[in-house]
Symmetry: C2
DNA sequence: TATTGTTATACTCTATAACTATA
DNA sequence: TATAGTTATAGAGTATAACAATA
């Protein structure tokens, strides 16, 4: 394991944190769907990967508190983007799944997003994109619960 | 320039955006100073790099609107973390600089931050960290104004 | 008694609009 | 007339606390 207390690792780690925070603010302004907040979009993305999850699991994955996830899921349901079903084994819990409409919206959003990313790409060369591609899975790992 | 409309680039780009948003939420909860918001910390970091800046420049760099930066700078000044001086050439503008107290706080914050990052590091191998180090400057480039 | 999810409420952060002062 | 910064106000998003239902 690397040593973060000094040297290049510490410098990189500071740069990383700063860049992630600033880039997240920038991306926030580039919503593909103005009616959905970043967390709401992220929940749909998580469901697309996981298939199904309980509200509690989603809250843990998205790093929000359960009441916040209640509100988010209710909003997504009212827009027809997720379905809420009773849990088969535990009547306290619920199961959240995405609808076909959500899947179509995610596909459309990817296309729109690329317009913005293409504008960001000006100034990046192939080598820099290769570094981003390589780091993406590692960032996902860090973002995990 | 890469092609984002399909294939591996599009997949990586989606993973990247999702990971940045989720990681930023996670980092938000790991504030080194509970009394400062992420943007306020980021402003101090920017000042540490740039030396000095006007409120307008800071607003552009941090991707917030000028009134928000007014509030942030006023709060930082009230805590003795920045100084506000008149602009030498233009009496409309002001110049913001960090104090010695801010510098000491940033140094302390780096140490505390590393405790959290070390816990995240469990599960990452040297190769994964190398990828993060390589990608950090590219992410900073994307975060730029 | 512990856990899942909800309701009610308050707070933090940021934005927009309107204003002041200077260029 | 345009620009830098401020003031006042409103809105989005999240949290905490208290509660209901189930384990």
């Amino acid at each position: 394991m690397p040593d973060f207390s000094q040297g290049d690792d510490a410098v990189a780690v500071n740069a990383l944190r700063s860049a992630v925070m600033r880039l997240s603010r920038r991306l926030k302004h580039q919503r593909v769907d103005e009616s959905l907040s970043p967390t709401e979009m992220s929940v749909l993305g998580t469901l697309a990967r996981c298939g199904r999850a309980t509200p509690g699991e989603l809250a843990r994955k998205e790093h929000v508190q359960p009441p916040s996830m209640t509100r988010i899921v209710a909003l997504l349901e009212s827009k027809g983007l997720v379905r809420l079903e009773p849990h088969p084994d535990d009547r306290r819990q619920k199961v959240v799944t995405q609808t076909e409409q959500a899947e179509a919206m995610l596909e459309e959003s990817r296309r729109k997003r690329n317009v913005f990313l293409a504008s960001l790409a000006e100034g990046l060369d192939e080598d820099e994109w290769a570094k981003l591609r390589a780091a993406a899975p590692v960032l996902e790992k860090l973002a995990h619960v």
